[in-house]
């Protein structure tokens, strides 16, 4: 990745023709307009969520507020058991992200640092796996999950089906394609001489992996961890298909429950939907740079 500063020095001097400032103003007006337009749906959701249902029922949604409060948020939080669903999301997202990173780091290390015959095939297998539409996998996966027993301490259904482990497993298997692709590109930029020197010094391969290559990949890990956390947290489809009981679902899928339960109260649904988005928004604002570089160093995500 080239640093942004590298290319931006000379090219945007005000043009010699003298129409520079006006064009900049025009551009700002246009961009600000578009940006505002893009925020309208989100702002509308925020506005709706802040208004009591009684107010909107009486005066309509497109009206000036008589009062604004966080009541819908506290209601959604308490009535629909959101803390529980958030906890489910944590239980799925954290191990899935860590597992994905570990698995894909191992595969990327293998294909980028050793000249074996099947490297390209292996890399393609992983990358293409991530591009398969989820619906192509779902029926056999569902049957597989019904066939695989788990001990009682792992799943009260005694099956991979209807257990958090099953969701973690498919996330890891599916997402490691993308991360392998990104990490192998990244590892190729690490000079081979570094690990060869270590080899001459007698370091074993596992030490090269854990003590040399992994620490050098820290920026890529940061980017991928941010990106994958948001993707896995946001995922909707796997839990919907592979978890039968609603109370084991992560918060994103559980939104559907909320919709069913409180269909008549859009204010409450808006509050619930916004609340599920808060963690991703926080992660995004805190780690914006990592997020974007994760998206763009690989860019293979379909």
């Amino acid at each position: 990745m080239t640093r942004p500063g590298a290319g931006t020095t000379a090219r945007d001097e005000p043009p010699r023709t003298g129409k520079g400032p006006r064009r900049q103003t025009g551009r700002h007006v246009m961009l600000a307009g578009i940006a505002l337009l893009w925020l309208v749906p989100l702002l509308w959701a925020v506005y709706t969520s802040l208004r009591p249902y009684s107010d909107t029922a009486k005066h309509g949604y497109l009206s000036w507020p008589r009062s604004l409060s966080l009541g819908n948020f506290t209601d959604a939080w308490q009535q629909s058991g959101m803390p529980h669903f958030f906890w489910n999301s944590v239980l799925i997202t954290v191990p899935a992200v860590l597992g994905t990173l570990l698995f894909s780091a191992a595969v990327a290390f293998f294909v980028s640092r050793f000249d074996f015959r099947w490297n390209i095939v292996l890399l393609m297998l992983f990358t293409a796996g991530n591009l398969l539409p989820a619906q192509v996998l779902i029926t056999p996966l569902y049957r597989l999950y019904l066939l695989i027993p788990l001990p009682p301490w792992m799943s009260d259904s005694l099956l991979l089906y209807n257990s958090v482990w099953g969701i973690i497993a498919i996330h890891i298997a599916y997402q490691s394609g993308f991360c392998t692709f990104v990490l192998s590109n990244y590892m190729k930029t690490i000079p081979k001489e570094i690990s060869e020197a270590a080899l001459v010094d007698g370091a074993q391969v596992w030490r090269q992996f854990f003590q040399i290559v992994l620490p050098l990949c820290r920026p890529a890990f940061a980017a991928l961890a941010t990106l994958e956390s948001i993707w896995i947290y946001n995922d909707f489809f796997w839990p919907l298909a592979l978890i039968e009981t609603g109370d084991k679902r992560p918060v994103t899928s559980a939104l559907a429950n909320l919709q069913g339960q409180y269909f008549t109260n859009p204010n409450l649904i808006a509050a619930g939907a916004l609340m599920t988005a808060i963690p991703t928004l926080l992660v995004y604002f805190a780690l914006q740079r990592q997020f974007i570089s994760g998206l763009t160093i690989g860019s293979g995500k379909g």
Binding site: W38, Y61, V136, Q204, V205, S299
Partner: protein, 324 residues
């Protein structure tokens, strides 16, 4: 890539030192047994997980597409050859509408949000103030889950309480439009919501590509008297080929895979008239009371084959350079 300039050292075969020994051999020693064990485990577990959870189901879907099965008892799987496919193509009413909608989805996305995202990236790739603010606002929808995006648009499109009808009636129109219920409108309503998200994605991808663009090329074009549009179309755009390919693949894949947003905006009950998509038809057939697994799988294979065209293009473009 390979450290040996003569032959790309047929990997896997033992390294017989046929080369003149002017240089010390690059591999000081072969991998020891411990190394081999470590590598086997490190590659074996992820590979096993990938094959078991992803590729095995994909192949099984292919197999099931030639059968008829209600999804309950494994003994009830019956081989029926190509019947499912024949049925789908000739005698399954929602199939061709779904194909048409997927094509509309692709064309819409490729013709509006994608170029618009590129345009925005080109505008933002200058030293202007607030560029970060603009970027964040336009990219923000990408951070939200498709389910949340669905709910947000639900409160815009709702015929009774939504923003859109509210604005329309405030503007004096007495039309009461059921945006998501009207089979002629709902696909477009969903496409607007999806485009809202897609634009920011493309913008960020293209912006990253532009950061690596050699400004000298642009200056040369300016010296040759090219105006802004000519510079972009003749110089910048062609030079951005790798990013363009990624954007093409992303656009095609997102259009084929579209599911969540339609599912939520359709009320979470499978496909609705006017909003049939391949991904939803598959779900219709494999989930629910009377599941037609063979049928759903055949639909999935159709989707897979179309996707493979995009996946193949991407893989060939990506790996061609390395495979030399």
């Amino acid at each position: 890539m390979s450290s040996t300039p003569v032959t790309p050292a047929a990997p896997g075969t033992p390294d017989v030192p046929r080369r003149p020994r002017t240089h010390p051999p690059r591999r000081p020693r072969r991998l020891g047994p411990g190394d081999r064990l470590f590598l086997t485990v490190a590659i074996g577990i992820p590979l096993a997980a990938l094959l078991f959870f992803v590729w095995l189901p994909a192949l099984a879907s292919l197999g099931l597409s030639f059968t008829t099965w209600d999804g309950i008892d494994l003994a009830d799987i019956h081989w029926i050859g190509l019947d499912n496919y024949q049925q789908i193509f000739t005698n399954y009413p929602p199939f061709w509408p779904a194909v048409r909608h997927n094509v509309i989805w692709l064309l819409f996305t490729a013709l509006l949000p994608t170029p618009f995202g590129i345009f925005l990236a080109y505008q933002l790739d200058r030293k202007i103030r607030f560029t970060r603010v603009y970027q964040t606002a336009i990219f923000l929808p990408m951070v939200l889950s498709l389910a949340v995006v669905g709910f947000i648009w639900e409160i815009i499109y709702n015929p009774d309480t939504g923003l859109l009808n509210g604005l329309l009636s405030a503007a004096g129109s007495s039309h009461h439009i059921d945006w998501l219920g009207n089979a002629d409108l709902n696909l477009w309503a969903v496409l607007v919501a999806s485009g809202w998200r897609h634009t920011g994605y493309i913008m960020i991808l293209y912006l990253a590509g532009l950061k690596g663009f050699d400004p000298a090329l642009k200056e040369a074009a300016a010296l040759d008297g090219a105006n802004g549009r000519q510079t972009f179309l003749r110089v910048v755009f062609p030079a951005m080929k790798p990013v363009n390919i990624i954007i093409l693949v992303v656009t095609v894949m997102e259009s084929l895979r579209a599911f969540d947003i339609v599912y939520v905006l359709g009320g979470g009950v499978g496909s609705k008239p006017g909003m049939e998509l391949l991904s939803l038809l598959i779900t219709d057939n494999i989930i629910g009371e009377s599941s037609h697994i063979g049928y759903g799988s055949a639909l999935a294979v159709v989707l897979l084959l179309v996707s493979l065209a995009a996946i193949g293009t991407f893989l060939v473009q990506t790996f061609r350079k390395e495979d030399r």
